[in-house]
Amino acid sequence: MAIVIDGFVYASWIFVVALGLTLIFGVMKILNVAHGAFYSFGAYGAASLIGLYSQTGLPVAGEFVIILLSSAVIGLVLGYALERVLLRPMYGHDEVVLVLVSYAAFLMMEDVLRLIWGSDAYFAYQPFVAVGFVEIGELIVSNYDLMLVGFAITLGGAGWWLLNHSRFGHILTAVIHDREMATSFGVNVVKVFLITFILGAILGALGGAVTAPKVSVTPGMGVEVIVLAFAVVAIGGMGSITGAMIGALMVGLARAAAVHLLPEVELFAIYVVMAGVLVLRPEGLFTRVQARKI
């Protein structure tokens, strides 16, 4: 039971981060290493703003608004800047070159982060404490964690709806399937890319922001999360929302099971799952069959 709950909480957290990554990859074919930096910026932004807000004595509900708003702003600014300045000139280059560009951006943003916030840890536990705890059977579970699960499910549902039932979603699907054909039908692919990248950046920042109340926000937190999110995305199939959800659940449960049953293999377990899936299905569990282009 504890494994299941822990697994779901962990899965929800990593799903929020991985969703942005998989969106960017699916549409733009960029494996965005800088996503880890979006994550840490989101966490720092939320943590410092919550810290300021809590001193004013206003109601706690405002802190949740801060989490959402701050990540939206951070994602918008960083995503826009990165796409326009660094990525746009490199479209059409090899996928691997784009990975390296985003890797360079990641290195630089990590330092910018340190310049803005210093290297001390930030704490923003107020929302986490404020919502209290609930007993499920013999377990005491934080309400914040349960909200996180709900939030992840909502986000996943919203993403699914957006992709399958909205106009923007149809355009995205067209771009994913065949970029050139979409262009010839009048889709402004450059604009679609920009919007996608910003959305992905916002999701990355959001992942960091919702985590901020649960942990101490420290430099280097993005380095760890990026490989985890990669694992999730690779398991699920790059560019698939359902895949990211299943991938997150597999990683979450694998980690929770490892932590409870055999703590020595915690990190190990996640990557074994990933390597196992990649061996059996190199393109991940949920990937559309791609027609061969000549």
Partner: protein, 318 residues
Amino acid sequence: MMTSDRTIPTITIVAALALVLGFVLPEWVLFLSNVAIGKALVVLGLLLLWRCGVVPFGQALFFAGGGYGVGLLGHYYGITDIFILTIVAAAVGGGLSALAGFLLARYRGIFFTMLSMAFSMILYGVLVKTEALGSTDGIGLKRITVLGWQPEEQFELAMYIYAVLLGMICAVLMHVYLQSVPGRLSEPIRGNEVRVEYMGMSVQRLMHINLIIAGIFAGLGGAVTAFSVGHIDPEMAYWTTSGGFVFITILAGTGSVLAPFLGAVIFEVIRTLAFSYVPDYWQIILGGALLLSIFFLPGGLWSLIAMAKGGKKNGLNY
């Protein structure tokens, strides 16, 4: 083309100069050079893989494998002879990459990059959690001996001479391999695998062999690094270490087997200077250097040298 190939004499001259310089350079420069040569050996392998069109973000796996091979042998069996340790490190790197290669050789592009990263993170996870392997603290090395002789005061110099000689041998071997039939057939893999198959070469087997070669070089790099640093820790297997190797490959370019050495030295210089003068900005500087070379020097620093020599007339146009 072979007649105008002056690579091997150039390597010999560079190595000889490096050896002479070794006697006048201060100890900390020698130490940095050793670390740089350790990295350059790994990058030498990456150069081969880069030509096949794949970029591993997990070469740290074999690098750490070599380093840990050296550390554990000394720690548990008291073996400190530099030659035995070197051979063991190469064997560990080669063995690990032979295993991983069964899977990796089937992948290209982004999947190759991610799978190799996953493998190195598995090793990282194991190293961090296993007490017998030193856990997060790693393991301190015993003093290295050379055929029973223990260099005391001149330790850094001795390691430097060894590293330079090893680097020279590896560069020559890699150069010879790149000129051989399998070496020359590696590059078309990037462009058109079907053609390579039609020429009678199994692409998957060739990839596997190249992975093993790169793994052996990475293992050697790990050994050289471990000798000089005197300590090994799980950080050697972390994905950021692999990122550093890829960084050097891009910075240096893949035009010559000497490029990795140039790249690694420049990388270490940038890193050391940035780290000691502007510790808060050193990643900005590294990232900036990487971006600059991707945007403005797609062929890496080596392309500057090649251009200065007059285009393709340098005999290095593999």
